[in-house]
Amino acid sequence: MASPKQSGNGSGTKWTPKQPMVSVKDLHKSFGDLEVLKGVSMDVMKGECVCIIGPSGSGKSTLIRCVNALNDIQSGSILVEGQEVNDPNLDKLELRKKVGMVFQQYNLFPHKTAIENIMMAPITVLKQDKDEVAEYAKKLIKKVRLEGKENSYPGELSGGQQQRVAIARSLAMTPDVMLFDEVTAALDPETVKEVLVTIQDLAEEGMTCILVTHEMGFAKEVANHIYFTDFGLIVEHGPPSTFFKNAKDPRTKEFLSQIL
């Protein structure tokens, strides 16, 4: 696994897998006058699968977009393998080699085939050998169950297929953490499952996953820990067994009663 960078890590101590892989502390984020995150804290250990749920506009997506520095933050701290993300000297490219992200709208590159989409970043960014990348890309295609679709363009694939290519594309960079931003929200109910199965496989293999999702069934079954956000705060969190049965906060109860 990639060794953590020392720069910007205030304490200077080396990150070990016993510490949280992603550690968010008192995170504040505003868009203009609108404060979206009002002091959010969460810890994700290596190999954990964490689901963030909550009503729309509660800041879930913003939270995970901050983790790979797609959004900058006002105050607080985000440590990814000990590397401080809220650091003006942050090497964003190094951070993003460790943190993969999958989006709601897939965002595949429409001018490249499925396999080219997967191979592009390792060849261009990581300067890896073309043949090795091609071999790994084929394995990934198999892993996301898209054999035979290697040479299809994104426009020729269904939403669920595109999303699985997007997951494979992200995995090709061999990230340590995967972020999933409402990846099934734009899909048909039938295709949601195929994408969720792919993510479940990943989680079971020990990939550290952070998901923003509305799929309560998935959260119940796969997640190790669930965070419920509302109005830019984490209202309640816990393992699924206690979270779904014994929610304490009235806002959580109300949200769950509407959804379940």
């Binding site: 797609l70 964003k92 190094e94 943190v99 960014v125």
Partner: protein
Amino acid sequence: MSGNRTAGISHEQHMDVLLPLARQQRSQAMIERLEGTFRLKVQPHHAIWMFLLFVLAVGSAQAQAPKELISPLDALIKWTPFILWGPEGGLTGFSLNIIISFFAMLFGTVAGVALGLMQISLLLPVRRGSWIVTQFFRNSPWLVLLFTIMLLFPFEIDLGFVVIPVPDWMKAVIGFSLPVMANISEVVRGAVRSLPSGQWESAESLAFNRRQTLWMIILPQCFKRMIPPWINWYCILAMATPLCSIMGVEESVTYTAQALNAEGDRPELLPVFYIFLLLIHFIYTYPIARWSIQLEKKFAVKL
């Protein structure tokens, strides 16, 4: 922009019948705003009208012409080669219009792409500077730019060991390439802006740097989108080339005037010759404009 959107929504709510039209108009307006120009919308029936106009002009001139002089149609046939390619069958007359438009497009495109890329630079001075240059040349009257270049530019450039003559038509090329450059610059900027931001974000999250993102992901997708407006600008340029006749460049309008002069400036010949000139320009531009419309339809499906 928000005003337009509100108007569109209220249409949808109250007049569902107009929905397809409203949507079409809105997308057209969006395309034109992004490209900063109107689209030539030539239809096949325009060709028929053009031809009828010509027949009408010839017919009425034939009727008016005195019997003892050469008939307007014969005069036109006599002078057509002269108008198309000049006295020696060389590269003057209408063929010079095409040559000027070709080189002006070439230089304008090269400079325009560079300027357009500067407009999306991360460096504020570069972005601001190229924006000012673009806006200046885009919003100046073409004729004023042409005059300025043709009067300021020396008729020859002395490099010490060799003297390069600069004929008027070359100056015209430079004069025309400036507004073309500015408009192509806007086409490039508009095409980059028209891509969904998700393309930038997914490239960023895959650790592509900005240069890689631009050259491998953004620009290849923009290329197809830029071709129809680029052809559109070529048509506009080709139609503008007769402007340089005012400066005496030996192109089609200059030669038409000379031909009319040689026929004794007979008033009934005037509409015949100029409408004929219009027809030549139309015949040249029409297929190109139609082609651009077809390409646009073809590419639109994939957007």
